[in-house]
């Protein structure tokens, strides 16, 4: 059964999260993500879930992790300044392997910046915002409909890989209104639980796919969770070999499973001679530009990463070996550009259009640059 509903991007995020089974939200008011908190405050109690407005962004992130250790799917939403504050506990969730979803509806920075203007300035922060070498999954939707379905996937990936997932929206998509065709028949994943009697449990052993099976608190397995480097029982240790094993497993947990995690979209790439690379809000500009270029007889196509991290880089490499002109467009000063260069610079000429004043790039700017390449 499916139905068509007109909704805002932020609302689609709430609806998708609820569909995924989110039953806990902790947040703090911040533009332009506030509608997500407001939506959760309205909807969660209706399904027996909990909403709490915490004293600050840091506490919101902490409460989300607390809820998640009891087995309840939990989410928080914020924007740039709040995303900075959440980094401490995002790192904790990464280290302690607590599934949760962090929505960042990007606005223009740095600092308080332009609170009501869109941006994609948090892309590198979404990967490296918290200290230390850590794994992370980052998803970025480029339509309201995709926001709904990708929010569900964010929870699925969090639960499957026992990791925080960053849902990297931007103001353009968060405040956009589009029709969503809601399909109730979607896959919902819940975290694996031990197939063992109550009592001590080696929670951080990691299964064959390197993902640990963490018993939910209150299920009688009595283990310890910590942000300190820990052994497979969750007890802190300074042992170098154990530290190496843990940190390697954490990183390889995502790396070894990247085929399952990676997602991207392609538009008219089959015969393309120029490749536009864009994601999230800037992909909307990119798609228009491809159409305009095609109308002018220029064979343009677009590669749109959906998992920003891990990047679907094998596919990008294939494309760059065939399509020798690449134009990256981002609403920032060129952040993902460096990733594209890392993968494609040997094979293709790479140009860039960015924007750092809160405005959107216009499709005409893209076509003009593409035509000059």
């Amino acid at each position: 059964m499916s139905k068509r509903i007109l909704m805002q991007g932020n609302e689609a995020c709430v609806r998708g999260a609820l569909k995924a089974g989110m039953r806990f939200f902790a947040g703090y008011p911040i533009t332009p993500s506030t509608e997500i908190a407001e939506g959760c405050a309205v909807e969660l109690p209706k399904v027996g879930g909990k909403f709490v407005q915490m004293e600050d962004e840091i506490a919101s992130m902490a409460a989300v992790i607390g809820a998640s250790v009891t087995g309840v799917k939990a989410m928080t939403a914020t924007s740039g300044p709040g995303f900075s504050l959440k980094q401490e506990n995002i790192g904790y969730a990464s280290m302690a392997e607590i599934p949760c979803v962090i929505v960042d509806v990007q606005r223009s920075g740095p600092s308080t910046g332009l609170p009501t203007s869109s941006s994609q300035g948090d892309v590198m922060q979404s990967r490296w915002g918290t200290h230390g070498d850590h794994p992370i999954i980052v998803l970025s939707p480029s339509s309201v409909s995709e926001t709904y379905y990708l929010a569900i996937r964010a929870f699925n990936l969090a639960e499957k890989y026992m990791t925080p997932v960053i849902f990297l929206m931007d103001e353009m998509i968060g405040h956009l209104r589009e029709t969503v065709e809601i399909d109730d028949n979607v896959e919902i994943i819940c975290r694996k639980q031990p197939d063992a009697p109550e009592g001590k449990f080696e929670a951080y052993k990691g299964e064959e796919n390197l993902v640990p099976v963490l018993p939910v608190f209150g299920s009688g397995h009595y283990y310890n969770i910590t942000g300190l480097t820990h052994n497979t029982w969750g007890f802190p240790t300074n042992n170098r070999a154990v530290a190496n094993e843990l940190n390697s497993r954490l990183l390889n947990k995502i790396e070894n499973n990247r085929r399952d995690i990676e997602a991207w979209d392609e538009y008219l790439t089959d015969d393309a001679e120029i490749l536009i690379i864009a994601y999230g809000g800037s992909a909307r500009v990119g798609e228009d530009a491809v159409d305009m270029l095609r109308r002018k007889g220029i064979k343009a196509g677009m590669y749109r990463p959906i998992t920003i991290w891990p990047m679907a880089e094998d596919r990008l490499r294939e494309l760059s070996q065939r399509i020798k002109k690449i134009l990256v467009i981002e609403h920032n000063n060129g952040q993902y550009l460096h990733e594209v260069e890392r993968v494609a610079a040997d094979d293709a000429e790479i140009e860039f259009i960015g924007r750092i004043n809160g405005a959107f790039i216009l499709p005409e700017e893209v076509t003009e640059k593409a035509e000059a390449m």
């Binding site: 109690p45 902490a62 506990n89 209150g218």
Partner: protein, 272 residues
């Protein structure tokens, strides 16, 4: 052979603990175990949460579902746990720096919400884990590695702070008065709402040495000789109370508990 209480309540394979000789955290941890047993908490439904610092390392030794969180954030994590699953008993173990400096905001708001969490503060007036820097409870005039010329900050009275912020049960006990500590912690655990027990603790390695407080026995004797029960303190002047430790229960009130109130919201929204 560890005592039966320790065998029941602790992960003995992780002992001995990391605390310095003479630190009072070990005996306070044991007292907490006794209080948990006396209160009749079921192990399966009891979650112990801590932050960062010497005191917070206790959770590694306690045989419950335990979570050692980030610096100052234990109460925020605990709020998520309690709100998500109100049937769980949630105990927070923290220190003076953890709860009243970096975690001060979380403390006042947990008090304000009156959420059903028991917060035990192992207050040794110093940052021990990092080697003896002054904390918000280091008395004015005392010395620390970061107060080499004397501390000019005024010190927090944690139970008074908590009570003012809305905590419905606040108390102070001492590491010396361990039997009273067990009784008061048991009452705090049984309390419906947010409870705070400040445990006046001793840090002979850093606070004691820096402030020439003598050895462990001297520090405990000082606690014994300078503790004033709250009833007696009411009859004493401000001057007479200078440098004393006021012990006992400061308030024990009934006020709607946060997760109970949230259940009403769910009913109002039609979620039950």
């Amino acid at each position: 052979m560890p005592a039966k209480l320790i065998e029941r309540e602790m992960r003995t394979e992780n002992l001995p603990h990391i605390w310095c000789p003479g630190c009072s955290h070990g005996s306070t941890m044991r007292a907490l175990c006794q209080a948990i047993e006396n209160a009749g908490l079921e192990r399966k439904n009891t979650i112990i949460v801590s932050g960062i610092g010497c005191s917070s390392r206790a959770v590694g030794y306690l045989n419950f579902d335990t979570i050692h969180t980030t610096h100052g954030r234990a109460l925020a994590f605990a709020t998520g746990i309690k709100l998500a699953k109100p049937q769980l008993n949630v105990i927070v173990l923290t220190g003076d720096g953890d709860i009243s400096a970096i975690g001060g905001n979380h403390l006042i708001h947990a008090c304000r919400r009156n959420i059903g969490i028991t917060c035990i503060v192992l207050n040794n007036n110093i940052y021990g884990m990092t080697g003896g820097q002054y904390s918000p409870t280091t008395p004015s005039g005392d010395y620390a590695t970061t107060a080499p010329y004397g501390n000019i900050d005024r010190d927090f009275d944690i139970p008074l702070l908590a009570k003012s912020a809305g905590a419905t049960f606040t108390a102070r006990v001492t590491a010396y008065g361990i039997n009273e500590a067990i009784k008061v912690m048991e009452r705090a655990i049984r309390h419906k709402g947010f409870s705070v027990v400040d445990v006046a603790s001793i840090c002979p390695s850093y606070y004691g040495r820096k402030n020439k407080k003598g050895d462990v026995v001297k520090m405990l004797q000082w606690q014994r000789d300078n503790s004033v029960p709250v009833k007696a303190a009411e009859k004493m002047s401000k001057e007479e109370l200078q440098g004393k430790i006021i012990t006992g229960i400061f308030n024990d009130e009934q006020y709607p508990e946060y997760t109970d109130e949230y259940e009403k919201i769910i009913e109002r929204a039609g979620g039950r």
